[in-house]
Subunit: 653 residues, 2 copies
Amino acid sequence: MWHAAWLPPEAFRALGSRRTVVHGDGALVDTVRSEVDRAVAASGSGGGPTYDLVLALDTAEPLPAEAAAVRAEAGELGPEGFALARREGVTVVLAGGPAGLLYGLFHVVRLGESAFGADRPIETHRPWAARRMVDHWDNVDVHPVMGQVERGYAGGSIFWADGAFRGDRDRIRAYGRLLAACGINAIAANNVNVHATEARLLTDRLGDVKAIADTLRPYGIRVHLSVTFAAPAVLGGLPTADPLDEGVRSWWAAATRRVYETIPDFGGYLVKADSEGQPGPFAYGRSHADGANLLADALAPYGGVVHWRAFVYNHRQDWRDRSTDRARAAYDHFAPLDGLFRDNAILQVKHGPMDFQPREPVSPVIAAMPATRLAVELQATQEYTGQQLHACYLAPMWSEVLAFEPVEGRFAELVAVSNVGDDPFWTGHPLAQANLYAFGRLAWDPDADPLSILDEWIDLTFPEPPEPLRQALHAIMDGSWRTYERYTSPLGVGFMVRPGSHYGPDVDGYEYTPWGTYHFADRDGVGVDRTRATGTGFTGQYPAPWSDVYESLDRCPDELLLFFHHVPYGHVLHSGSTVIQHIYDTHFAGAEQAAEMRARWAEAAGLVPADVYDRVRERLDEQVRSAQEWRDQVNAYFFRKSGVPDAEGRRIY
Amino acid sequence: MWHAAWLPPEAFRALGSRRTVVHGDGALVDTVRSEVDRAVAASGSGGGPTYDLVLALDTAEPLPAEAAAVRAEAGELGPEGFALARREGVTVVLAGGPAGLLYGLFHVVRLGESAFGADRPIETHRPWAARRMVDHWDNVDVHPVMGQVERGYAGGSIFWADGAFRGDRDRIRAYGRLLAACGINAIAANNVNVHATEARLLTDRLGDVKAIADTLRPYGIRVHLSVTFAAPAVLGGLPTADPLDEGVRSWWAAATRRVYETIPDFGGYLVKADSEGQPGPFAYGRSHADGANLLADALAPYGGVVHWRAFVYNHRQDWRDRSTDRARAAYDHFAPLDGLFRDNAILQVKHGPMDFQPREPVSPVIAAMPATRLAVELQATQEYTGQQLHACYLAPMWSEVLAFEPVEGRFAELVAVSNVGDDPFWTGHPLAQANLYAFGRLAWDPDADPLSILDEWIDLTFPEPPEPLRQALHAIMDGSWRTYERYTSPLGVGFMVRPGSHYGPDVDGYEYTPWGTYHFADRDGVGVDRTRATGTGFTGQYPAPWSDVYESLDRCPDELLLFFHHVPYGHVLHSGSTVIQHIYDTHFAGAEQAAEMRARWAEAAGLVPADVYDRVRERLDEQVRSAQEWRDQVNAYFFRKSGVPDAEGRRIY
């Protein structure tokens, strides 16, 4: 079996011990009823002469008086929204649609006993975005290099195994329940790198997709599919995949019609085109708007959408060529296309201009395309943030991105790359579950506080946690992203990881490669000059005043200094430290903090199940080892280059 | 089909146009007869009233008068030796045994018309060593990382494919013929890293080994097998593989008896023990002499030998630990065991103390074990010397090793790791055939001149080569090893290759790894201090005066300077150049020379078959590209570290 994650039976204790009535009809309402029944069965209670909890669709007839009163006061709820109130000993959840009722139910679970205490004034909850989606980079066939799940650190796929549908519907249903409980309502079921077998999910293997969609539907989750832009050629046998070719357009229309005949609530397509070897419209001299609109037009009759990734760059760059800057690529390719995309084409932009590093500036694309629907892509799978061997709670980073002023109001939805696999703990590292949970909550409300979300996750996952456990979890997780940043690549410069695996340090690992990911460290200094004055001009992609802030050596934030500037090792940061001393200090501190995290976890012994305790302890051992390796390699590298000794005389190898 | 390598029909023209008689009996003599028949058939001649060539075993009765006269004058020939003379228009080859007759025949082929010209005084040829062996690192199963052939750059294996015997006996026979023609008489048929399937070649899959042995036997080649030291446990189900355990000794005795019942002329075992994860005697607290003698005792009743590799070192070293020196490992492990090995145990020592780098000092083990039979292991497969994408004729390097004074007379035989695969050209790069040919000739006579061997190879492979072709081949191949050295890691320091693949530059690629292969470059200098005075003490493993020569910064040869010393970039070499300027100069020169090699090959257009021309041209294109990449990465790396500009102001990135 698998770990209950944030839905252990104990989390339903308050609900299960109440007398509850559900008003409404339909499949999702039945899911709500079954959740209530399960909770009652688990707590073995639910008695009492009157109802404690009324869960009602606002269209249900007749509505009980308590619910009707709420309806009279609540505003527009929308299909996924709900209102909650408690009056005279009755808690009422009134929903604008079946999905809203499900979300309302899980909100009651989150509230626990406090949903049944003192009276609560009416409050309404509506998701900030209509779609909250996770992308699975799951392969159907085991890829010879990337395996069953590309950049997956939680075992195999819950959908696919060794070339076929895995068929474990119980696991998929349990997954859907977890997703619904944090507000996620869409998944892409296969990797954006679409190989030969995966391409056929669109056609003769569509039945597998239907099976997943049927299993997830009771939790309000729609299934999307990653497709290859070359499908008309590789699947349809056409001589071209040119988006302006009539035969191609007909092929996509027919293929899409078949998909909707099979899966009426199919979500849409996800496409990685002209990116790292995937086919795309460039081959035909067409723009990415032409490419995206081709699929958007095929999907429009059915209400589907295409997510079109903006991750387009030259991955065969010559490291000798200092004028090419990978950070510029997405903006250079896409900003000129603003306004040219269909309404149901969503441009999916990674949150930073590079590739999910622990610290990047926010992608300038997001501020640059006001006439385009944008999704911001986050990465729950910890490709560059410790691969679920390191505890690294990412929500604080994501919140910083979403609160960046030029970004606010400029994106339509959030998408995350999934960190889930068939591992018993779902995410390898049990604490990495919090990243998936937090993503769902931020996708529902990007303004939510990441530490409040962490509290929610703790209360659900470890119901009624003893105070020492809560404190230990906060001590480990609150600052874990910044700790990870401290012991890895400094001051926003990024990478310095082992090529290929992306795990562990290799300071020069990408320095002379075609990947466009360099730090340019020499004996005098380090960093990438991306200024307009003397560098690649990337700073000019930001609106004022940010373009000037980043351009200015004085005003650029410390944590992004080496992303934007090449500076001498003696350059003094706003913090008062020199760059070289900052490197030493943060790396010694980061490794120490990793050791402290491990020490704090010892306090959780006996307060969590033994399997959880052991798994986390093992991973913290590896985190401590790895953090020391990062510390020693990075410090040795920069000492050998700079010759500057550590001001505190600590050991550098 | 496959390329004829150094045995094209044209190479047999002089032989085939003569009237030849063969005296003697047996399978190898039949092979000689069939070679003569094939040559005559190819040239369509062979007429004349008397014999031009007499090939005779010295035990044949009756011997013709010409041969009897040679026998009267020739000394002891031994089982593989032969005498050659030409008198009164008759060429005589008199052999001490069937294999000698075969070698004598191929010697006549090498001589061509000059075997049939003026009279030749009697000359005798005997191999310097009784065994001349190539080790195939061929896997039976395709290894998930290493593939069908570990470190193989010539396609698949000629013996194995996808988990089974390949069954292409014609190809194996053709291979045996090529080996015999350059004097090789033994092969190990599987990789020294013995995985699960390969282990069973010793037992239930022995039939496959027999098939190979049967196919190679007509060319005088005996088959050896790589075995796992853990065989009694993994194959025999015993609770231990302890070499002093009686059950283990009985198991090996019985297993070996079955091998010889199946293959009466089986050569013996090859073992990689306690090395890079392979099992060995250390697990039982036993010495490597105990381990080797276990197998030697099992093989002794049948005249078999065990080759026991000395490649034992800590491959999980901590890069922070400056006191551990991989170069010391083989000597530290094995020198104390001198005199403890059985007569039929052969300690197989890599020619350098590290691992087949383009430049290393000679292994001090070779001079340190006078009471042990040693084989010097060379690597024809170009793992670190361009992987058969670069032309790199290795015989000059091997000759330098073999001529190193403390080594002369201290080794009993030569072994090479094979560079052959199922590629149509056998070795990927057609010019890499010369490395296998030259190995065979050096194993027969370690004093042979590598450039004379190259001439032999050219004359056989491109019969009657036009002078421009001969000159182009010499221009490309003579100095190709030194050219490769110039554009790769400088002054003997080694590595600086991409981890894993070992192809292409990555200066820091191994610098912070557990492999023990470091250069310690910092902003002030570079190199490994292996002196007794201040370093790891490795110099002390050499006998005087070499220990003092290497210890001395003044006397250490330039080409090994950074192997033995850590020096500032401004250190002045014997050449008069500084270390940093030497790095720049050699890298610019090496890349230029690669471009010159390509230019010279253009002169071969129309003078060699088109497929040979095209294959070599493609590889030279890659060599030029790769040499420029090496040049630019190494120069950029050391410029960034040292800050010293190139004295000639050339472009450094």
